[in-house]
Subunit: 309 residues, 2 copies
Amino acid sequence: MKEIKLFSPATVANVSCGFDVLGFCLDPIGDEMVIRKSKQLGVRIIKIVGQELPLETKKNVAGVAAEALLSEIDSEYGFEIEIYKHIKAGSGIGSSAASSAGAVFGINALLGFPFTAKELIRFAMKGEELASGAAHADNVSPALLGGFTLVRCGETPDIIQLPCPNNLHAVIIHPEIELKTADARSVLKKTIPLEKAITQWGNLAAFISALYTSDYELISRSLKDVIIEPNRSALIPYFDNIKEAAINAGALGSGISGSGPSIFALTNGEVTAEKTRDEMVKILQSAKIEHSSYVSKINMQGIQILEQR
Amino acid sequence: MKEIKLFSPATVANVSCGFDVLGFCLDPIGDEMVIRKSKQLGVRIIKIVGQELPLETKKNVAGVAAEALLSEIDSEYGFEIEIYKHIKAGSGIGSSAASSAGAVFGINALLGFPFTAKELIRFAMKGEELASGAAHADNVSPALLGGFTLVRCGETPDIIQLPCPNNLHAVIIHPEIELKTADARSVLKKTIPLEKAITQWGNLAAFISALYTSDYELISRSLKDVIIEPNRSALIPYFDNIKEAAINAGALGSGISGSGPSIFALTNGEVTAEKTRDEMVKILQSAKIEHSSYVSKINMQGIQILEQR
């Protein structure tokens, strides 16, 4: 194989009760990337379409992630990367993670899969470190593994793949406002009340159980964030109204995707997802805020190979 | 049925990463209770053997729990309760929960099971409220339902029954020192660092997943408490040594049972459990601290009917 073209999906991190540890993979939106072997060693980003991002390898998340992989293996080739961005940077659905994960997935494939998908996570995290200053794994893990993933904090991240009810669907609403991850992080409090933490971890534990038992009602009862959302949602105009519209439309729950401004909802089934999307979008239409929206199955595969030659 | 004799088991709450939400049920230790219908309405505790506890209904956890149940149903009978205590009060393995849960279970059985086991939890919690000032469900739930249970905090507690790997065993070591729940609670900090909370809920989420997948290694990696144990363990002499002995003997993990002073360990299999118990006990023997110890399967049934007539 000389060249690979792949689809690297958007992802939702945090997922209300699962701040910093939970994430899931989306289906209809993602970046396309072409990665090919080159005689020239090292990594070169030769083309970025759809977004203004640095071509310089060490300043590009895909470049940094790719170099991290190559630092652990002898390769007789170098690699050229073309990135066709469809996920907007700063939208809160894992734009940098898609590029980082796609780069390491593609190079790994071209090298004959020396690393497992789980092993690729630590390389992709280097891209996340460049993007946000923190080498978090909660977007790159679902991008690389598909489905729902849990990141247990440890010296090295411990990634657990979770099951997912068949009929679970996600709605994503992206209001086109600028919300920097740094600002979204600055509203976080460094200490939190123990009582709220107990509520949060009870909800997260229940949500995990509900994924295993396909208990949609328990998903609904537990998909709550009493710690981050109350502070962070103030940065997203009409958040409360949009969330309320989602719940009224029959969504199981709704919250901030990643660090925002995108808002996600989970539903039982596609019909409810479409209805939920319509009702959420209406709020932004009334407020005359530009936006995009998606209805998605949970993508159980993660990154997908489109072409190889 | 006029009279029922039952075994009401000891339970372990908190379980390291699951502070205030997780609990499981033990097998070899518990109270026996005899409950019989009487012509005289109301609840009378007529006998308590093995412990100095108040016979007055409103001052006894079993009495209070029983009255809570009877306040929601018309009964043409009253009930007499005899309690044969084998679980020491203040030992940290759910002594008050066993009495509260046993009382409501027995009366419910004598009335022809008008309530489900889950519905009984809220009555038993009234006993817990009398015992500790907080109507917590984390011991009464596994006593009534068996196995591992999760309490999601809400306006009414939302109890989730969890699966359990077949070969999971528990070791309980009870050093006979006095440790009041109030003292154990006073060392808790009202606020905690967000970063530690994230570690804790990642561990709890992983632990729940591990129960579903029978992943003993993940149980071991996630059975950690970075929030409560560091403060509370100082109240239990030789805690660190006992825990270390458990881990060295092959236990999956070890922590404080409930609010202590009992210490639990979980193991894969009975042989390791016995070895773990031996090594943990050696520390207390060297320190000349009186103690009792148990090796237990996870009791998947909960309260057991011994006789009825």
